[in-house]
Subunit: 131 residues, 2 copies
């Protein structure tokens, strides 16, 4: 149980989003996203601006990862009445050169704004450390 | 000029932090940072937790980058009374294998909380797209 109603709403929203990614359901993935979302994804491009570009990043993700694997390992939520952000460590499963899947840990930061009683994701930053 | 006093305070804080990075002044870099900061940096490690680990990431940065180059290209601030986050695109200058410097663009997300009248950075996420 989270400290306040905002944190609880956001926790539910983030888990619902991750579940939609596991199910590869694009419409559910974007259910709580701003049309102006700024996405920094694990692979190129450098940034994707707007919901259509955001949807494209998931189509690319589906090609190179194992269905059903998109796990929140640790989630911290910082929320006020109108602004919130989340810090998470995540796990998915990536196709390697020989076509087999291997586990991939990545970092995630999410930024949200609240309009009325509804939280909307305006920013996601997914990454792995550079090698 | 920002929309409100919180955004203005944060804009000043982020520019002051970037200036301290350019001057390689560790004490000024951490002037507005939480002891519990969670840092996701461009290179390994996967995450650095706490202010001492955060300082270590800058010592590594100083070894592999050109002094004086740490530029905010674009900065968006989302702030309420107690929680804020920033989205930025950034530029530094990285030493390549032959010892020359080349420009490196990276993505940055910052998370902040306000205590009293003072904003504190509790999270930074720096990254480049994976290749």
């Amino acid at each position: 149980m989270k400290d306040n109603a905002n944190e609880l709403q956001i926790e539910t929203l983030v888990h619902s989003w991750a579940s939609a990614v596991r199910k590869r359901d694009i419409e559910k993935i974007i259910a709580n996203h701003s049309g102006d979302i700024i996405m920094f994804d694990v692979p190129e491009p450098f940034q994707s601006i707007g919901i259509e570009a955001y949807k494209d990043t998931w189509r690319a993700f589906f090609e190179f990862t194992e269905p059903g694997v998109f796990d929140i390992q640790d989630l911290k939520i910082f929320a006020d009445d109108k602004i919130a952000f989340c810090i998470a460590t995540m796990k998915c499963s990536e196709k390697n050169n020989s076509g087999n899947f291997k586990s991939l840990k990545f970092r995630l930061t999410i930024g949200l704004i609240k309009t009325g009683n509804h939280w909307t994701i305006v920013h996601e930053h997914h990454s792995v450390p550079a090698t």
